[in-house]
Symmetry: C2
Subunit: 337 residues, 2 copies
């Protein structure tokens, strides 16, 4: 293997000079530089990053913990993170935690072993205390979800406000029997969306029914959304609107309604959350709360990089704008109570 020593020998200089040229630290006489460059070319030398990283004590790897990569919502976040870091010469390692604490712990151990320089978490299943121990020692950013007990760097939308606006919209259309399909997972966004749902209905003096609150699987699966929607559509009185905390669930609800012979939005309004591709794949196009996924990823990456670069003060909380997108799956109820 060609090393910096070989290049130095070939060019008749010391390794220090080669290194200086390579890293653009310190001055090198143009003529010398030319000789070195020629030697590098001739020997087709490539610096050994194992040695460099070891010496610099950095891995140039960042870790991304995501509960489930197959979820399209994450794909754009990943793209955003990837674009920032690959420009900076970092590799991103995506770690599928499946929401299992052991898996998450295992991944975070990589930081201790100098396997990664920092981490972006899409979800956190550890206790605040255990989580804080990592956060205190290593660059860390929370994306989408975050631990409300800790003052750590995070990037997300305002889930409470976004839900409020969605429910306001439904009430504004005339809906009173508004159900929700939440999730059995433990994410903050899930809590906030449910709380905003409850608070907003209360604000309008709309009575709440437990039967109108369903919990789909932790990963928002299409199947569980469909199942829960069928439960809702067979309760009496039937809700006239269903607020789903993810588009996949909303899709399931639309299909459930169709299978039961209901029309969307004439018989029942369905709205989703996230705005992933399949909201506009078939009719009715789904009314949803759009999240700026790519931007969430980009901001997270930038925030992590400032931490890795040892900037002492960095923004802790980035809240990006959401947007209610009205499409075809929502309409006023046919019969007003």
């Amino acid at each position: 293997m060609t090393t910096i020593k070989d290049v130095a020998q070939e060019a008749g200089v010391s390794v220090a000079t080669v290194s200086r040229l390579l890293n653009d630290t310190g001055v090198v006489h143009p003529e010398t530089a030319a000789r070195v460059t020629a030697a590098i070319q001739k020997l087709s030398y490539e610096p050994n990053l194992l040695a460099r990283n070891f010496r610099r004590s950095e891995s140039r790897v960042i870790l991304i913990l995501s509960p489930n990569i197959t979820n399209p919502y994450y794909a754009h976040i990943l793209a955003g993170i990837g674009d920032v870091f690959s420009n900076l010469g970092y590799s991103a390692v995506i770690f599928n935690t499946s929401d299992a604490p052991e898996r998450e712990r295992e991944a975070l151990e990589m930081l201790k072993r100098h396997r990664a320089d920092g981490v972006i978490l899409m979800a956190n299943t550890l206790s605040s205390q255990e989580f804080k121990e990592y956060a205190d020692q290593f660059p860390l950013v929370q994306c989408s979800e975050y631990d409300p007990n800790l003052q750590l760097a995070r990037v997300s939308i305002d889930n409470y406000l976004a839900t409020q606006e969605a429910i306001d919209y439904l009430v504004g259309l005339g809906h009173r029997r508004i159900a929700t399909i939440s999730s059995e997972n433990n994410y903050l966004s899930t809590h906030l969306r449910k709380q905003a749902y409850l608070d907003t209905l209360q604000r309008y003096n709309i009575s709440l029914s437990d039967e109108y609150i369903k919990h789909a699987s932790y990963d928002y699966s299409f199947k569980s959304g469909k199942m829960k929607a069928k439960e809702l559509l067979t309760t009496d009185p039937m809700p006239t609107a269903i607020f789903c905390i993810s588009d996949t669930l909303a899709l399931g609800a639309v299909i459930a309604a169709q299978e039961l012979g209901y029309r969307v939005p004439e018989d029942v309004t369905v709205i989703g959350f996230d705005d992933v591709e399949h909201t506009t794949m078939f009719h009715p196009f789904i009314t949803t709360v759009a999240q700026p996924c790519y931007e969430l990823g980009r901001h997270s990456a930038e925030l992590l990089f400032t931490q890795i670069s040892h900037a002492s003060d960095y923004t802790r909380e980035v809240v990006l704008p959401h947007q209610l997108i009205i499409r075809e799956s929502s309409a006023p109820p046919l019969i007003l109570d």
Copy 2:
């Protein structure tokens, strides 16, 4: 930072002994081992992987080149690869090439710099000659797609045979006006599927019409599938069946048909390829050729690992079984010619 030296000092032994214990190379007296283990615990020592990898001259990273991670087809392949390698203590870095040769080259350079120990390619845009140079030097496996000019390790299904069976099935149903939505990309699978389509129709003495052969975008986008299907559905005579080389395209075709007022499968049969989730999201469930994605990933990973482990002889070609899954989007044509 705690180093192996600190542990050695604490335990009153040499670094060699600690290392031997850590790596289970050579014998260590049980009592000594206990002392060392205690020291490791006490100092909460974690080996520095930067140093280890440098010394061992391995990165413990493998590279995955995929043209487009947002495509759900790849998600399961990635899961299969990930499961194998994370058990082996490797990290997988996913590189989105977007089918751009520069991006691919850039990624492969990482091998030269000892940034990764091997690579799995989902698609290759380089010339056989350039590609061979990397393959000769580094562990490499082609997954799904491969360069037919080179004898390199690859894992895939038999695309030609699979397509043949699909067309046989359509002809068996009574279809004669069979169209295809192929892709403008340059993948081998695309060529093979198209060729099998052509050959099989010829075998049945069914005349071919250029109007029945459409090419969607390189990434099989839903939109382009829908657009091309509309073109097919407005040609005269209209095809009674459309063979799509991906499920996303098939989905687009179904929606296109519905928007034009045609029923699937009564008015037009649509079949897809891959068997990703959305084939069963709504009715009609899509008839498709299933690929064992997870297994493709797993086998690729195992094949790569044997190469990394310097096994001199390893299997070059793994062909996994496909399966035609008949669902709701296919039926005999209403009117036979």
